[in-house]
């Protein structure tokens, strides 16, 4: 064995002991160790160091059950209320419902401008019903007129209701814009908007359901 080869192999030995080499390098080390007693001894030293580290760092700590319970209690006392924790919503779920509502509102503003007034009223009613179904207090919402959606939406204490009403407000604003334009066409474009809005509402409601209850509202 040449000195250069041994030096190269010895640089690989710490990772070899960790099983951290690629297949080719590991094979080269194995072949070398079969023929080189000095490097075998060196490899044994690295293996011994690994054993010492693992045994030394994982030695059990004598912790009594009372200490563990005290730790649980301290964590309870020290941590802020659960509602202070971050809301665990994945990125795509956080923007997708909002984007869907915005898209539906824009579509509504464009297409809804052709809707007959009677259809507009029917669509409003359907949306309010859906908002009420999603909200926590359907009786309160059932009494709300379309024009009051904003006020109630901001006052709603529960997230599902507030989010549903926010979505409903998008719809309401779109319809107002449509009416102000004074155009009239069939119900089909509105039906598309209804489907989009309801899908957005359902996604919001699912997001709220997946949020810890203690993190919602108030």
């Amino acid at each position: 064995m040449t000195h250069t080869t041994c030096e190269h192999i010895r640089d690989l030995l710490p990772a070899y002991a960790d099983d951290g080499l690629g297949a080719d390098e590991a094979q080269a080390v194995r072949v070398h160790l079969r023929a080189c007693a000095a490097c075998r001894l060196e490899a044994a030293r690295w293996a011994a160091l690994d054993r010492l580290l693992t045994e030394g760092l994982t030695a059990p700590e004598p912790v009594s059950q009372a200490e563990v319970e005290a730790a649980v209690q301290r964590v309870h006392e020290t941590r802020p209320a659960w509602q202070a924790a971050p809301v665990p919503v994945r990125f795509w779920r956080s923007w997708l419902p909002a984007a869907a509502v915005a898209a539906a509102a824009i579509l509504l503003a464009v297409l809804g401008s052709y809707a007959p007034e009677a259809d507009v009223a029917r669509a409003k009613g359907a949306l309010i019903d859906e908002a009420a179904r999603l909200a926590s207090d359907p009786r309160e919402l059932a009494a709300v007129r379309p024009g009051e959606l904003v006020a109630v939406g901001t006052e709603a204490r529960e997230w599902p209701g507030r989010l549903a009403l926010d979505a409903a407000y998008q719809w309401d604003a779109g319809l107002s814009l449509a009416q102000s334009l004074g155009r009239r066409v069939g119900l089909a474009p509105l039906a598309v908007c209804v489907v989009l809005l309801l899908a957005a509402n359902l996604m919001i409601a699912r997001r709220v359901r997946e949020t810890p209850r203690s993190l919602q509202g108030g």
Binding site: L49, P60, R74, H76
Partner: protein, 190 residues
């Protein structure tokens, strides 16, 4: 069959306080043990262990349930200990203090002399790890406490695998120098 750590973490994330309490019960001894080894002082270790559990709670939404929870919480703990050690900038704890507070390693199958010898070895190893540059401590802990592969350490820490290899190589060179006599004694025993 006990509920897995990963499942408990997900339930805690959904607002189940009991699930997080169970995780605290499971991990407090290991978290405290690691804090003691990395910080030395028993008081600092208790503070760090509690802070580590709180930090784990606050950052729970960042935990990826497809990976091992134990590796994640030990990474959180090791990083916190590094920060705590930097803040404290204190002298290494004398062995006498550790002996009083840690009580050594309890092993009912070992005799008193063996227990003391093992406790001394454990403390020497802990001192050597404490003397590592801070940069290398987390990877060293994940390798030797959690037994993670280089690839798993890279995933847990977010470091490139080449960096993990370099950190571990340098850490082991340092530790080998600190523990040369114990390494030879370990070889002689075999």
């Amino acid at each position: 069959m006990p509920v897995s750590d990963e499942r408990l973490a997900q339930e805690a994330l959904r607002g189940d306080r009991e699930a997080f309490d169970t995780l605290v019960r499971r991990y407090y001894p290991r978290v405290l043990g690691l804090c003691r080894k990395l910080l030395g002082s028993s008081e600092a270790a208790h503070d760090a262990a509690q802070e580590a559990l709180l930090r784990a709670y606050r950052k729970l939404h960042l935990y990826d349930p497809s990976r091992r929870f134990s590796a994640w919480i030990m990474t959180v703990t090791a990083r916190l200990c590094v920060s705590a050690g930097q803040r404290a900038q204190r002298e290494p704890t004398p062995w006498e203090e550790v002996g009083q507070t840690d009580g050594g390693v309890r092993d009912e199958t070992a005799g008193p002399v063996e227990v003391v010898e093992r406790a001394e070895v454990t403390e020497r190893v802990a001192q050597a790890v404490r003397s590592l540059p801070d940069l290398y401590k987390p990877v060293c802990v994940l390798r030797h406490v959690e037994g993670l592969s280089y690839q798993e350490i890279a995933e847990a820490t977010g470091l490139p695998i080449g960096t993990v290899k370099v950190h571990l190589f340098r850490a082991k060179k340092h530790l080998r120098g600190q523990l040369a006599d114990l390494v030879e004694a370990e070889l002689d025993q075999r």
